[in-house]
């Protein structure tokens, strides 16, 4: 793998090792820092500013209380996230595991949101403790969900992802209704490193020292996790306890960092992945180099940012920038990343007993959908309270309710289909349209247009969304062509593209532009902006595509059996994957334009369908489509009625309902 990298560099005989990369980066970082400090303060005063700043000299004070703490905390936080990332990737045996994957960051953010709104007294006791408790509870939930399966890596990541989405949905709901009060948390959420005393450093330093010592003590048993479960168990290691302890440690480190400077997610993913690629194979090597690289990455990014963003009226938080810079790096890495194959790989697909006759299931689901549609159209509140179904209600409200209900049903169906396809193609229960990045890509295009073209209309938005969805698909295909569209790589590319969307959203939110309300509403999946013609198009294409996709059910039945079996049965695997991915992209883009990028339904509906016993592709597709429509219609209706006259977007509601159900079913898996 090292050859890969060196071959792509201009010097063919130069082999890049972790040590060499870190030295290079350290030089760049030191040069940048030196330059920055020199413009801030004459070199002769550096020592004085560090130890005893002159109270009357504002430059020295700034250096002492702002520049130096910021520089130090960047190093500390980057290093800490590197360690946390190594621990998580080691425990979960998953190169995609990162401190944010376990829901710690969102848990901490939610705790702070709740405390700010409902118990501000707690914040005076200490924000960091609130964040630690929130992050800890989120992690506890993840562990509780994965406990029955002995904290198996796949299940932990799956549970983490779901908890993440769930808590994220709750946070977004709160932000939507309390935008003015929660301004501060927007900045924090985007990961701003700016400091105005040494308090943050003094808080982080002892905690990280303890964590580092503990990680050192666990080095030997952790190395055994390189083996698969059976082998490790035969060596007498209590897997549950070991995983619990090391994950707990990683989460503690993450929570400390998050509580001081906010969410800086990418470093924890990138640093361990890069050092592994550069040849740091053993655990001690990775535990040494990942924090060093993490520290340097974060500090260099921060220095660059301070250098070039000074002139902008927009604040660009460092945490968001690392994510934005990290995504292209990740995209570059993916074709070079060795995934699976090198170690025993066991990804248990979620399964349930197969039903002999899915017809009855489909009938029941169809009936439930019909009832939900009628209820959604006729039952609701008005200025005087609840109004019972009547012709008068229909006449007064169908103009507003019909497009939304149709659009919700249509979008739910499209997302469910996309989710079914992608879960079957990749054989990965974690997959969903959101993970493939098309939702994120579409969203990026739409946000850019809304922010830079004032007063833009719907047709323009539709065009922009479609173009960015196609561009995203193009990137996906370009990067994955060489690997023959291997499932894991496609997912990874998707995550990287989604990672580009997050910082953009964070920057927008952190700057408190009052226009964010509308963006936020769309991003959280509201059917509010849908008009009748769009609704009809969406609903009609949902029906047509559900039927059309039945033709692809042979591919969908064969692909999950593995490449060789499928090939042996006469499927052109590459071409089939390509075609299916194209369909997924179009389905997702269409749905995203209507209800925003929040597509929990795409993950949920195929799952529920499978848990209900629809295992053959044909039944799976139909059941998922019906479930997707049902979920979205219910979510849309509940969202409109719960806090009347204020509305909770359908995407958020479906995450709230669907997430709860999903976690429950995961627990008894």
């Amino acid at each position: 793998m090292r050859d890969w990298i060196s071959r792509s560099l201009p010097f063919p005989h130069f082999v890049l090792t972790p040590a060499r990369l870190c030295s290079l980066l350290a030089l760049v970082c030191l040069a940048l820092s030196g330059l920055s400090l020199a413009t801030q303060l004459p070199v002769a005063q550096w020592a004085q500013a560090l130890f005893v700043p002159d109270e009357g000299n504002i430059d020295q004070l700034l250096t002492h209380y702002s520049w130096l703490p910021r520089w130090t905390i960047a190093l500390l936080a980057g290093g800490a996230l590197g360690i946390a990332g190594v621990l998580m990737q080691q425990v979960l045996r998953n190169p995609l595991a990162a401190p944010t994957t376990l829901g710690v960051a969102t848990g901490a953010q939610l705790a702070l949101l709740l405390a700010t709104l409902f118990a501000p007294g707690l914040l005076i006791l200490g924000r960091e403790w609130v964040a630690v408790v929130g992050g800890g509870l989120a992690m506890g939930l993840v562990f509780a969900l994965a406990w029955r399966r002995g904290l198996a890596p796949m299940v932990v990541v799956l549970a983490g992802l779901v908890v993440n989405l769930y808590l994220g949905a709750v946070s977004t709901t709160l932000i939507l209704f309390h935008q003015e009060e929660l301004r501060g948390l927007m900045v924090w959420g985007a990961g701003s490193l700016s400091q105005n005393s040494w308090d943050g450093v003094l808080y982080l330093l002892p905690r990280l020292a303890i964590a580092l010592v503990l990680a050192g003590l666990m080095l030997r048993p952790l190395a055994i996790l390189e083996l698969d479960d059976v082998n490790a168990r035969s060596l007498g290691v209590s897997l549950k306890h070991l995983r619990l302890m090391s994950l707990g440690l990683a989460v503690f480190i993450t929570a400390c960092v998050v509580s001081v400077i906010g969410i800086i997610g990418f470093i924890g993913l990138a640093a361990p992945a890069i050092v592994r690629l550069l040849g740091a194979r053993t655990l001690p090597q990775r535990l040494l180099w990942a924090p060093v690289l993490g520290a340097l990455l974060l500090t260099t990014t921060d220095q660059l940012l301070q250098r070039f963003s000074g002139a902008l009226p927009t604040m660009i938080p460092t945490g968001a920038t690392t994510a934005a810079l990290g995504a292209p790096l990740l995209l570059w890495l993916i074709p070079r990343l060795k995934l699976g194959g090198d170690r025993p790989h066991a990804a248990p697909m979620l399964t349930a007993p197969r039903r002999r006759a899915p017809g009855r299931l489909l009938m029941a689901l169809g009936l439930a959908l019909a009832v939900a549609l009628v209820a959604s159209l006729l039952l609701g509140q008005n200025g005087e309270g609840w109004a019972w179904p009547s012709w008068a209600v229909w006449q007064a409200t169908h103009e507003w309710r019909l497009p939304r209900t149709l659009a919700a049903a249509g979008a739910g169906t499209l997302l469910a289909l996309a989710g079914t396809l992608i879960q079957r193609v990749t054989g990965n229960p974690m997959a969903s349209p959101e993970v493939v990045g098309i939702s994120g890509g579409t969203a990026i295009g739409l946000i850019v247009v809304v922010l830079f073209v004032p007063g833009v209309g719907l047709p323009m938005l539709l065009l922009a969304g479609t173009l960015s969805a196609l561009a995203t698909l193009g990137i996906l295909l370009l990067i994955n062509r060489r690997s023959g569209f291997q499932p894991e790589r496609v997912l990874l590319t998707g995550i990287a593209i989604t990672a580009l969307f997050d910082p953009l959203r964070s920057i927008v939110l952190a700057n408190g532009d009052p226009r964010t309300q509308q963006l936020l509403a769309w991003m959280s999946g509201s059917t509010y902006y849908v008009d009748t013609s769009l609704a009809i198009v969406v609903a009609a294409s949902a029906v047509v595509l559900t039927l059309a996709l039945q033709c692809l059910s042979r591919w969908l039945d064969l692909l999950p059996m593995g490449n060789s079996s499928a090939r042996a049965l006469g499927v052109n695997v590459d071409r089939a994957r390509l075609a299916l991915l194209g369909v997924v992209a179009l389905l997702t883009a269409a749905a995203t334009l209507v209800v925003g990028p929040l597509s929990f339904v795409g993950l949920l509906a195929p799952h529920m369908a499978r848990l209900l016993g629809a295992s053959r592709a044909r039944a799976h597709l139909l059941a998922a489509a019906l479930l997707g429509a049902l979920l979205m219609v219910l979510a849309d209706w509940l969202g409109r009625q719960w806090l009347f006259p204020q509305e909770i977007p359908a995407g958020l509601m479906s995450s709230l309902i669907g997430g709860a159900y999903f976690m429950w079913s995961l627990r008894k898996l």
Partner: protein, 309 residues
């Protein structure tokens, strides 16, 4: 003694506002029958309508209006029509207003709300135009729609006269000539600092006060910066607009950088009660009052005697 040197600036402002409302109420009664029933999603339009003596039938997020805009007070009978970005159309249709007013921020709502009632967009913030001119023309546009044009003339004339009076008073007082740095705290490390194109800046210009923030600002007239950006403006005097986010007060007292900011060291930070940062004429008048008062109270010799009970 000028009226401004009296204590209890809030009370005084309320009296003035009351006088204005009484003045407007006379004409309001005369034209009440013709006044269209107006619904709006925008708080600035809502406060302008109220200042013109028109009570809107529906306003978005009424609770948040009361918290963040506050004055002029929103009467209880005003119906909450939901979120600003997503007013509840079923409820609006039931209210059946004669007109609906939007700001450009929510202009994507216009086509669908237009099916309920004629919908107009009134722009207060337009890049490249002078905010004060826009504020006046926006007030007149709103007044024209509400059929209260005479009241708009009264309101704007009063605003100009009031600011001129305040400026005169400020000129006669011995206030410090430091440029002002108007900020709102986001958290203990970040502030919104208001510069060109902001309402606060426009008011300060009218009062003859210098704004220390000369950097580029965004569409809404503010920049989001870390505290350290303020430290470099040696000369500037900080004006903090409340409310402070929870816990910021405590954390600032332990923040070394804050304690060392030039303004804080000189102990001359002014704290003003909340004023809607993106407001119209009423917010402008309130901000002018609060600011002048704070400056004048502060300029008084420390031996100032408390008024007799």
């Amino acid at each position: 003694m000028t009226p401004l040197s009296m204590r209890g600036d809030n009370l005084r402002f309320q009296l003035l506002a009351l006088a204005l409302l009484v003045l407007l109420a006379g004409s309001y009664n005369a034209s009440a029958a013709d006044t269209p029933r107006i619904a709006t999603v925008d708080w600035t339009i809502a406060e302008t309508l109220l200042a013109l003596g028109v009570t809107p039938v529906g306003v978005a997020q009424t609770d948040a209006y009361r918290e963040w805009v506050g004055a002029p007070p929103l009467p209880d009978e005003v119906v909450d029509i939901g979120l600003r970005a997503q007013p509840n159309r079923e409820l609006l249709a039931q209210l059946a207003p004669d007109r609906i007013l939007l700001s450009p921020m929510f202009s994507t709502l216009a086509p669908s709300l237009g099916r309920i009632a004629p919908t107009d967009t009134v722009a207060l913030y337009t890049p490249g135009s002078d905010l004060w001119t826009r504020l006046k023309s926006a007030t007149r546009e709103i007044a024209a729609i509400a059929d209260h044009e005479a009241e708009a003339d009264t309101l704007l004339a009063w605003l100009d006269a009031h600011l001129a009076l305040l400026r005169q008073t400020l000129d006669t007082q011995d206030i410090s000539d430091r440029p002002l740095l108007v900020v709102q705290f986001i958290d203990d490390r970040h502030v919104r600092v208001f510069g060109e194109h902001s309402l606060y800046n426009a008011v300060m210009q009218r009062l003859g006060l210098e704004n220390a923030w000369q950097e580029e600002t965004n569409y809404w007239g503010f920049s989001t910066v870390g505290l350290e950006a303020l430290a470099k403006l040696d000369d500037a005097r900080l004006v903090v607009i409340e409310p402070l986010p929870v816990g910021v007060d405590e954390r600032l007292s332990s923040s070394a950088l804050w304690q060392h900011l030039p303004s804080v060291r000189r102990d001359e930070v002014l704290t003003l009660p909340p004023v809607w940062s993106f407001g119209g004429a009423p917010s402008a008048a309130r901000f002018a009052d609060h600011l002048s008062h704070a400056l004048i109270d502060d300029a008084k010799p420390p031996t100032h005697e408390a008024p007799d009970a």
